[in-house]
């Protein structure tokens, strides 16, 4: 079982307490009605789906119930780091595989 560090509970907790909530850092337009269909499609449907480092939203569903962001490697399924929701994308990743 994976252990995921919840930035709000400040400790590693078993993965069964968590839920994935899709890709992180997708900004919603302030003027949604003014979006073109193409832009809306990009915002709503198109995800990066990379092989390697991905920034995701996770929720500590059966714990503190908070959403937070996590950096995960989709190849190794290893969590590189987690940080609170609303914080900017980390500039440097600890122990990131090149």
């Amino acid at each position: 079982m994976l252990l995921i560090r919840c930035p709000y509970c400040e400790e590693e907790r078993p993965e069964l307490e968590f839920r994935n909530a899709g890709e992180a850092h997708i900004a919603r337009s302030a003027n949604m009605a003014g979006e073109t269909d193409d832009d809306f499609e990009k915002f709503f449907f198109i995800r990066s789906n990379p092989k390697g480092i991905i920034y995701e939203r996770w929720r500590h569903m059966h714990g503190c119930a908070r959403f937070f962001n996590a950096v995960r490697d989709t190849v190794s399924d290893k969590f590189l780091m987690t940080y609170k929701a609303g914080e900017p994308k980390p500039a440097k990743l600890p122990g990131a595989a090149k």
Binding site: Y8, C9, P14, L16, E17, H62, G63, A65
Partner: protein, 190 residues
């Protein structure tokens, strides 16, 4: 004109506690359904904590996975702005919160939850059969509290003594939780 029809006043509804009086003893662990208690779900921002703590008579814990207890009332940290307050002294914490004017949300959930006590040297082993958290005394000391899962349902776990846990679950899940713990108690004893 239609005749007024007299309807007899309905008999007062009988309240049946979930799992009332159920108990189970296995080697090394005892399960018991705890008596009903007053409970509230409390949400409040940082600025309201001091006033709410004063009104409730128990200091709301700010550290993750901790609880605070005073005069039969326990406040469990569930999230950064969320607490479960359990009162076993039959004093309604909801009434205490109603007097507070600072921003907060207090919802009475006394009858939503059922509490089960798990006691004995094999208590941690019993709960660990469905709960993935580390329940060793170092990681989950006396007074530690956390929302977590047991098998397929969500529970709130509170360690009240080195070998005693209080398992709070939703009323409709209580049958599942008690049966799950009963099976686990038998396995833990084996």
């Amino acid at each position: 004109m239609a005749k007024a029809i007299k309807i007899a006043a309905p008999a007062p509804a009988e309240r049946r506690a979930a799992l009332a009086g159920q108990e189970l003893s296995a080697a090394g662990v005892t399960l018991a359904v705890l008596p009903p208690a007053e409970r509230i779900s409390l949400r409040a921002p940082d600025a309201s904590i001091a006033a709410l703590s004063k009104a409730l008579g128990v200091t709301l814990p700010r550290k993750p996975k901790t609880s605070a207890s005073r005069a039969g009332r326990t406040a469990l940290w569930l999230g950064p702005d969320e607490w479960l307050v359990i009162d076993e002294a039959e004093k309604d914490p909801l009434a205490d919160c109603a007097k507070v004017t600072v921003l907060h949300s207090a919802v009475g959930i006394s009858h939503r939850n059922v509490a089960i006590s798990v006691t004995g040297p094999a208590a941690a082993t019993t709960i660990n059969s469905g709960c993935p958290q580390d329940l060793s005394l170092g990681a989950f000391p006396v007074g530690a509290a956390s929302r977590t899962i047991l098998g397929k349902v969500e529970i709130v776990l509170l360690r009240t003594a080195a070998d005693t846990f209080r398992v709070e679950c939703w009323r409709s899940f209580s049958d599942y939780v008690f049966t799950f713990l009963s099976e686990a108690a038998g396995d833990a004893a084996a």
